[in-house]
């Protein structure tokens, strides 16, 4: 897949974050806030190295594109190596680039927290794990990275480990991710059984060898992807994961880790190209997730949860894109999404920070004056995510939606368009409610419809003392805002730099000309989006609506359909189908079956022996004379036996 050789640069990209993690972990107490510097440097250096590796990532020799560095023979038949090709290059750039900005932001965000070194150790470790995932040249290495990012995510979601909700969310995220891990394991079993190797090159060269297991392999790989990328029905952990610090949500649960599923499908494009069933499956799940996430986003009030559902929805777009084999479009949406979603989260983080950890948008309002940088950056990002022409999301979303039609999935095309409208609506709802009008935090929570106000201050930030320099948080948000505007410009035209980058990675496909041209698609999308924005404006941002905001919000809270509030009942179904039966079974086995049935059988054997012993014991009278009687009786029998023998002769 890549040009084999020795590439020290890859080690620099891969291992420097690990070194940062180890330093922060080992010397945390001594480092104090310098841990932030260590953390940032440990991400900044790999970013530079990734840029420097652009040349080797795009080099080609014959069919091989990129750089492949052999690492070690892990087990017989399992060779490990690093692979940097355009696909992993894009991911590495986002992970280290956006990651670097988020790290800088985190220095400010985590300023008051005493466990800052631990935080940066986890963050650096996450980057290392994510790089392991995308740089691996085989399925097992990918699975190792896959598991390690899950672990980093677990640590960071549960970073404030004294909060029971955070702990529970961390566990839920980890367990659901393990479901994905074992699914990928099973796919690896099948691949190894049929192909005898797990390296991408060998496997993709022998796709026909998979035979009728091809769809199963795709299915199990996709279950892994779905768990990691929060696709229906394995998405329930993502909103809960917002219990982690906001930079974590931005980096892991928006920009990078959750897009690993997209990476996996894009990486395995030869499998998907070969299996139309897999395309239908993945495309449909992606489309449904896009729609479902958007619908749930409409019903949320917590700013981070809205963003979480929007992430889920946008990843649905990406999965749909790569699922229908429009790989470049899906990856493009990942690329632009990383910027605008990180920008949204970090902007939200500024707002949350400003309001002392208040996350309910009903208790915000008028924030454009108190957080102007966040306001402008998030405005750009909201336009981008809605797909406003000229902004980053426009190009990629357009490509994904049109790709669905182009590759022969018209129902996904419709789904994509409908979702675009809903996206525009709920993102602008978030934007208007948060930044316009007047501040509502002083009001009684019940007045704005908040029934169970969470008293935040989980990590008891010492607000009085030592605030971080404001630019630490503002600058990354501003930069990401700028990228939310310009990131799409690399994708203009059929001969764009973006397409040129991937010409050798993804094969060009011969496609029938679709019924609607791309221009029409753009137009439809724009109309739908504009309608979404208009509805949001009418409901939340007209002067009348702003004046009456508390009452309207309260009314909306009360009228919210239960099916949306309960999140389509996914959590309940999982609870009833898996969690409760498992626990009931465990209790039954542990407190009834083990002590009563199995040990009961053992006790039965013991009782039989005891009874036998009692019988024999009764014979042991201790009476000398009865013993003598028995002996004589036995002797008499013997005598009779021999006498009979004699008679017989």
């Amino acid at each position: 897949m890549g040009v084999a050789g020795s590439y020290p640069l890859l080690f620099a990209i891969w291992l420097v974050p690990l070194a940062g993690a180890i330093v922060n972990w080992a010397f945390g107490p001594q480092l104090k806030r310098a841990a932030g510097i260590v953390g940032c440097v440990a991400i900044g250096l790999p970013f530079v190295a990734t840029l420097a590796a652009w040349g080797i990532a795009t080099q080609s020799s014959g069919a091989a594109v990129g750089a492949n560095q052999h690492l070690l023979s892990w087990m017989p038949g399992f060779d490990f190596g690093l692979l940097l090709d355009p696909l992993s290059l894009i991911w590495a750039l986002i992970i280290t680039g956006v990651g670097f900005l988020i790290h800088v932001y985190s220095v400010g965000y985590m300023w008051p927290d005493t466990a800052i070194a631990r935080f940066f150790a986890y963050m650096n470790f996450f980057v290392f794990a994510m790089l392991t995932l995308v740089l691996s040249d085989n399925f097992v290495g990918l699975l190792v990275g896959w598991g390690l990012v899950g672990l980093a995510s677990y640590f960071l979601i549960g970073f404030w480990f004294f909060k029971p909700t955070a702990v529970a969310a961390a566990r839920k995220a980890f367990v659901i991710n393990v479901v994905g891990d074992v699914a990928i394991m099973f796919a690896i079993f099948m691949i190894f059984a049929k192909v005898g190797s797990t390296s991408f090159v060998t496997v993709f060269a022998h796709v026909p060898a998979l035979g009728n297991w091809l769809f199963l392999v795709c299915l199990f790989l996709f279950i892994g992807a779905a768990a990691k990328s929060a696709q229906i029905p394995l998405h329930t952990w993502l909103p809960d994961a917002m219990e982690g610090p906001t930079p974590v949500s931005a980096l892991i649960h928006a920009a990078t880790m959750v897009t690993a599923g997209v990476y996996l499908v894009a990486r395995c494009w030869p499998l998907w190209n070969a299996s139309h069933d897999a395309q239908v499956l993945v495309g449909t799940i992606g489309g449904l997730t896009a729609l479902g996430g958007a619908l749930l986003g409409v019903a949320q009030w917590d700013i981070k949860r809205i963003l979480a559902y929007s992430t889920m929805s946008q990843i649905g777009y990406m999965i749909m894109g790569v699922g229908v084999t429009a790989y470049q479009a899906g990856v493009a949406h990942f690329f632009t999404h990383a910027f605008f979603k990180a920008c949204l989260f970090l902007g939200a983080g500024i707002v949350i920070h400003e309001l002392a950890d208040e996350q309910d948008i009903r208790r915000m309002g008028g924030m454009r004056l108190r957080a102007p940088v966040a306001f402008f950056a998030m405005f750009a990002a909201v336009l981008a995510i809605s797909g406003f022409p000229g902004f980053a999301g426009f190009f990629s979303k357009d490509a994904v939606v049109f790709g669905a039609l182009e590759h022969g999935f018209p129902w996904l095309y419709v789904l994509g368009i409908v979702t675009a409208g809903i996206t525009a609506y709920y993102m602008f709802r978030l934007f208007f409610v948060t930044f316009f009008g007047t501040y509502r935090g002083d009001l009684d929570p019940a007045q704005v419809g908040v029934t169970n106000p969470v008293e935040p201050a989980a990590h008891e930030p010492a607000h009085g003392e030592a605030h971080a320099p404001a630019w630490l948080m503002a600058a990354p948000v501003a930069i990401l805002g700028v990228f939310s505007v310009i990131a799409g410009y690399v994708m203009i035209g059929s001969n764009s730099p973006w397409n040129r980058l991937f010409t050798q990675t993804f094969p060009s496909q011969n496609l029938a000309v679709p019924a609607l041209s791309e221009g029409w698609t753009t137009a439809i999308l724009f109309i739908v989006m504009a309608a979404g924005i208009a509805i949001a404006y009418v409901r939340y941002a007209t002067p009348a609506a702003l004046a009456d905001a508390p009452a309207r919000l309260r009314a909306e809270s009360q009228r919210m359909p239960a099916v949306l509030v309960r999140l389509f009942y996914f959590d309940d179904v999982i609870d009833w189908l898996f969690v409760r039966p498992s626990q009931a079974l465990g209790r039954f086995f542990g407190s009834i079956f083990d002590p009563d049935v199995i040990d009961g059988a053992v006790r039965g054997v013991v009782r039989v022996n005891t009874e036998l012993g009692e019988v024999v014991r009764g014979m042991q009278t201790g009476l000398l004379r009865s013993y003598a009687l028995v002996i004589v009786f036995g002797a008499a029998l013997f005598a009779v036996y021999y006498a009979l023998q004699g008679v017989a002769h």
């Binding site: 201790g622 000398l624 003598a628």
Partner: protein
């Protein structure tokens, strides 16, 4: 050759021996006095001896005599040990009812 034959049929000796042996058994089983039990055992020994000698005479083979001799020796040893046991039991318990000596009861 007539003189070599047994004066009385062998079966009569066997029957006589059986009866004496059985009387010995009855003595051991029915009496509780250890001395009488020991004497009953002597009866049984002697019933056996009688049989040995009768068969030896019938077959004119003196191996039966040798056995009878050994039996007498062993019986002497047995009587000595048995009586010693009776003595020490009597010393420690002040009675020698064998039914009272049931330490081996399970």
């Amino acid at each position: 050759m007539h003189a070599d034959l047994l004066p009385v049929a062998l079966a009569n000796y066997v029957a006589l021996s059986s009866v004496i042996f059985f009387i010995g058994v009855a003595g051991v089983v029915l009496r509780r006095n250890p001395l009488i039990m020991l004497m009953s055992i002597e009866l049984m020994w002697n019933a056996a001896n009688l049989l040995f000698l009768a068969f030896a005479r019938a077959w004119l083979n003196n191996a039966g005599h040798i056995f009878a001799f050994l039996v007498i020796t062993v019986a002497a040893a047995e009587a000595a040990i048995g009586l010693a046991i009776v003595v020490i039991v009597f010393r420690s318990r002040a009675n020698v009812d064998v039914d009272e000596i049931a330490l081996m009861k399970g």
